[in-house]
């Protein structure tokens, strides 16, 4: 069920998707799904030897969840571009809020498009962990 073009207006964005508290199991599940087995995200002795207090969250994991917030709303088949930029690390126990806003609504090459600005913030210190930009088409 697609969102209607006239309903895609600033202020209509769904509330943020709340993720967490993050667990090591979340990281391992994501790593298995993605094929990125970098040990710093699950191997406690390895992470400590590298100077970290705990395995750090996989950046592509919460970036992926931030994208899920948007696809839940505008539909996974309508994504045409996604870009993410990491700003800070996240840790087991963190609770993250993934959401965003409409940046631009336009027609291009006969397609109705909407650009989003996304942000994933940690609850508590409100640190931005990831920011992102996505473009969706909105079929008639």
């Amino acid at each position: 069920m697609n969102v209607r073009w006239e309903d895609v207006v600033p202020g209509s964005e769904p509330p943020p998707l709340v993720l967490g508290p993050l667990t090591r199991t979340d990281f391992v599940r994501y790593q298995g799904a993605s094929g990125d087995m970098q040990p710093i995200h699950h191997d406690e002795p390895f992470a400590r030897a590298a100077g970290y207090q705990a395995p750090l969250a996989v950046g592509m994991y919460h970036a992926g969840v931030m994208n899920t917030w948007a696809t839940n709303w505008l539909g996974p088949e309508n994504v045409r571009r996604t870009r993410v930029r990491w700003k800070a690390q996240a840790w087991p126990g963190d609770v993250l809020e993934c959401g965003g806003t409409i940046a631009r609504k336009y027609e291009e090459s006969g397609e109705r498009c909407v650009d989003l600005e996304l942000v994933c913030q940690r609850q508590g210190d409100r640190q931005t962990v990831v920011e992102g930009w996505m473009t969706f088409v909105v079929p008639a």
């Binding site: 799904a33 899920t68 948007a70 696809t71 539909g75 870009r83």
Partner: protein, 151 residues
């Protein structure tokens, strides 16, 4: 220390089969229960699904030219990631032919002093007819000092 001679390096082509079960697994791992990822025989893949090149490229020697960059494991990090789709993202049952290249290497002055070196790897994804269906752009950065943020 980044080897700037890696600029222009091209990896061996490799295949990526977009598989239904893998889409279910990846969607679940990224907190999605959207029916478009779970219903039918050919569900659409999630927006960051093509990161599964991590798995597929390991099956083909010399497919990942990122190794040629020799980014420091201590001072290097994944800074940005982008996926562009020239139509709907690929569906289960699609076999993609993939090829990566080191597209850019450049320096920037960091805000706290020190030089940051950025490296961009582009991966092209083509379908059976050779049509470009998606592109990935991975940006890594190496700092002059070890990352300060080690909480």
């Amino acid at each position: 220390m980044i080897d700037k001679s890696a600029l222009g390096a091209v990896g061996a082509p490799f295949e990526l089969d977009v598989e239904r079960g893998k889409i279910h697994e990846f969607a679940r791992a990224t907190a999605s229960a959207h029916p478009a990822h779970f219903a039918g025989d050919d569900p659409v893949s999630p927006p960051t699904f093509l990161t599964t090149t991590f798995f597929w490229e390991q099956l083909v020697p010399d497919s990942n030219p990122w190794h040629r960059v020799r980014m420091s494991p201590e001072r290097g990090m994944h800074a940005e990631q982008e996926y562009v789709f020239y139509g709907p993202p690929p569906r289960a049952g699609t076999r993609l032919r993939c090829q990566s290249r080191i597209a850019e290497i450049y320096d920037k002055q960091g805000r706290r002093g020190g030089t940051l070196t950025f490296v961009v790897m582009v991966t092209e994804f083509r379908d059976a007819s050779g049509t470009l269906v998606a592109e990935a752009k991975m940006t890594g950065v190496e700092t002059a000092q070890a990352p300060a943020e080690k909480a």
